[in-house]
């Protein structure tokens, strides 16, 4: 009897081991965490691949893939070509998304408050400290702005969303570029930090007068009050699928290396100004080639079948030409790529 039980236990353990071996691990961007989660749910039944994704921030994701502790790293900040070569990584985008500004000003509803990129930079530089500042009031003639201190909220951890936001501020405000610069982690002149995009969203919701930057998915899911931002063409646009698609449409992918495109401040009357692609980093010399193959087959499935899921969450799927270029890059640089 004991022999039978032991044999049964070992067989079952063997099955569970086989089932667990189909798991891929990824870490990094909180920007992409909602879409990777939904894709993983949908792909599990079809592909039999389970995704274990940790949204620890782009900086930490890059660190983890450099140390090869995960199968793929996810970052909103594209890694420079020499760094990719040094750490033997291949980089490709998976989806495009917008970064929106959430505010908490009593009396202001969503899509009412108009702000420009320069004003945003001045708010985060500490030059503008009150919501009823003349420069903000001049843009918003029809709104009553309270005499309330502005409470800027930023990401406390190393974040690709921070990179996207500070890159946009550097483009539209030369003082920001000189004083602070853009990176996953910067020396913020004013404001309070919160951990993760959910931390920023939560803090803005709680603090009267708060303003913060989050991915579009977090803003819509948490029903935050969003702003109207002015774009390069000078018109004020609301954060919506239409404006994200317009910004992505004018991107010229042929001019960039390693797919490292900058989608901030794109031309076009309908374009959303703060937008970025999110990237995945895969080792070209993986310890376990089979795992590398599972990662590429997961993203290949996502390119082919995950477009609707992405649109539902307000991400813009990549154009088919870019997807084909990515598959070609896999074939060229990854020995174990499976599609």
């Amino acid at each position: 009897m004991k022999l039978v039980t032991t044999a049964l236990a070992i067989t079952l353990a063997g099955f569970s081991y086989a089932a667990q071996a189909q798991e891929i691990t990824g870490a990094g961007s909180t920007f992409a965490a909602p879409i990777y989660g939904k894709w993983a749910e949908a792909a599990q039944g079809v592909l039999g691949v389970k995704l274990n994704y940790q949204a620890i921030g782009s900086g930490a994701g890059i660190n983890q893939i450099n140390n090869r502790t995960v199968d793929f790293g996810a970052s909103d900040m594209p890694v420079a070509g020499d760094q990719l070569a040094e750490h033997k990584l291949v980089q490709f985008p998976t989806v495009i998304g917008g970064v929106v500004m959430a505010v908490n000003v009593p009396g202001i509803q969503t899509d009412q408050l108009k702000l420009t990129g320069e004003l945003l930079a001045d708010i985060y530089l500490g030059t503008i400290t009150k919501w009823n500042d003349p420069r903000i009031a001049a843009l918003n003639q029809g709104l009553t702005l309270p005499n309330l201190a502005i409470a800027p909220v930023h990401r406390a951890d190393g974040s690709g969303t921070t990179f996207v936001f500070t890159d946009y501020l550097s483009i539209v405000n030369p003082e920001w570029k000189a004083k602070v610069g853009s990176s996953t982690s910067v020396n913020w002149p004013v404001g309070s930090g919160a951990k993760g995009s959910d931390g920023v969203a939560g803090t803005v919701k709680q603090v009267r007068g708060g303003i913060g930057y989050v991915e579009s998915a977090y803003a819509t899911q948490n029903k935050l009050t969003m702003t109207l931002q002015s774009n390069k063409a000078g018109s004020f646009v609301a954060a919506s699928m239409k404006s994200y698609v317009a910004a992505a449409a004018s991107a010229d992918w042929s001019k960039v290396q390693n797919f490292a495109i900058d989608l901030n401040d794109q031309p076009g009357a309908e374009s959303w100004p703060i937008e970025s692609a999110t990237f995945v980093l895969l080792p070209t010399n993986p310890k376990d080639p089979a795992q590398s193959g599972r990662v590429t087959s997961f993203f290949d499935w996502a390119f082919n079948h995950g477009g609707d899921i992405a649109t539902q969450l307000l991400y813009v799927p990549l154009p088919t030409t870019v997807q084909d270029a990515i598959r070609a890059a896999w074939k060229a640089q990854l020995p174990a790529a499976k599609m």
Binding site: I62, A151, A156, D157, G193, V207
Partner: protein, 320 residues
């Protein structure tokens, strides 16, 4: 006269003949004791070596430099050290009177049926994991601070010269004061338990003679108990300080994570523990940021070591 024992006959040299088991056990025990010392020194040395590149790059100014700029690769320990010291001292300012009150109540005023349960409840406070304190602080205390306490204090003192700056700033809810309050709640059990234990060691004859002369309860406490236990109470406070200095997750949630010197109690800041918790995951191996964080760890280790050593010194049992 030499008495022969049945168990350990004396040899010619006068040493006892021990069995092999004894020798092995003694060696293992001594080895484990040395291992603890070795481990401690290994930690200190590895932190120091890891932090050496940043000490070399920035020199001694690293200790008071207040920039923390990852883009320009300029790091300084001034802001985290300031935050650690200010939050810990504020936490003690809040916690010590409360802990004294608790200890006083438990030893003098409370009826006998109340002493055990309340004492156990205080000790249970010490057993709660610190991340629970962090979450409780973030979801319960921070909204109260940002919606009621901070705006009220800010508006009341808006035009008063000194207090206006101290209570000024945007009402984030997180900040130095909130972090100090959460730390105070975490530190009260340690101080209160130590105080209660040392208050109970006062010989009853002293207190009874004071009562006999006509002192009130408070006069007995002030003139007999506190002077008698003063040194041990200091030791308990230092113990609480040691805990407050190293507290990580609870502080990280509620301090607001800003790398600037705070001019107001409501400003966000950073402590050594919270800046390491936040910035460590994204620090690439071998980078200047990583070695700055390790240097900060070394500094915190040294500070905590000194504080705890003083507390042990003050708490040592003394002959009456």
């Amino acid at each position: 006269m030499q008495t022969a024992t049945a168990f350990a006959p004396a040899t010619r040299s006068g040493r006892r003949h021990r069995s092999v088991g004894d020798v092995i056990f003694a060696t293992v025990a001594r080895g484990l004791g040395c291992f603890v010392l070795l481990l401690l020194s290994a930690i200190i040395v590895s932190l120091f070596i890891g932090g050496l590149p940043s000490f070399r790059a920035f020199g001694v100014e690293f200790l008071w430099e207040t920039t923390w700029d990852p883009v320009k690769q300029q790091f300084g320990a001034g802001v985290p050290i300031f935050g650690t010291v200010v939050t810990s001292v504020l936490a003690l300012v809040i916690a010590v009177p409360l802990a004294f009150g608790i200890a006083f109540t438990l030893t003098e005023i409370a009826p006998a049926w109340m002493r055990r349960p309340v004492g156990t409840a205080i000790e249970l406070l010490a057993a709660i994991p610190s991340i629970i304190y962090g979450m409780w602080g973030f979801f319960v205390i921070v909204p109260i601070m940002s919606q009621y306490v901070m705006p009220t204090l800010g508006d009341t003192f808006a035009d008063v010269p000194f207090l206006g700056t101290v209570f000024g700033g945007a009402p984030f809810g997180t900040g130095i004061l909130t972090a100090a309050m959460v730390l105070a709640v975490m530190v009260i059990p340690f101080i209160a338990a130590t105080m209660r234990d040392v208050f109970l060691t006062v010989p009853p004859v002293f207190k009874e003679s004071a009562y006999g002369v006509g002192c009130t309860t408070w006069e007995v406490m002030r003139s007999i108990v506190v002077p008698y236990t003063r040194v041990s109470v200091m030791g308990g406070i230092m113990l609480g300080l040691g805990r407050a200095l190293g507290e990580t997750m609870a502080v990280t949630f509620v301090i607001g994570n800003a790398n600037r010197i705070a001019t107001s109690l409501f400003d966000p800041g950073n402590t050594i523990a919270s800046i390491v918790a936040l910035e460590f995951p994204e620090s690439a191996a071998g980078s200047l940021k990583l070695s700055s964080l390790l240097a900060l760890g070394f500094i915190l280790f040294v500070i905590s070591f000194i504080v705890l050593a003083i507390s042990r010194l003050l708490l040592r049992p003394r002959s009456a």
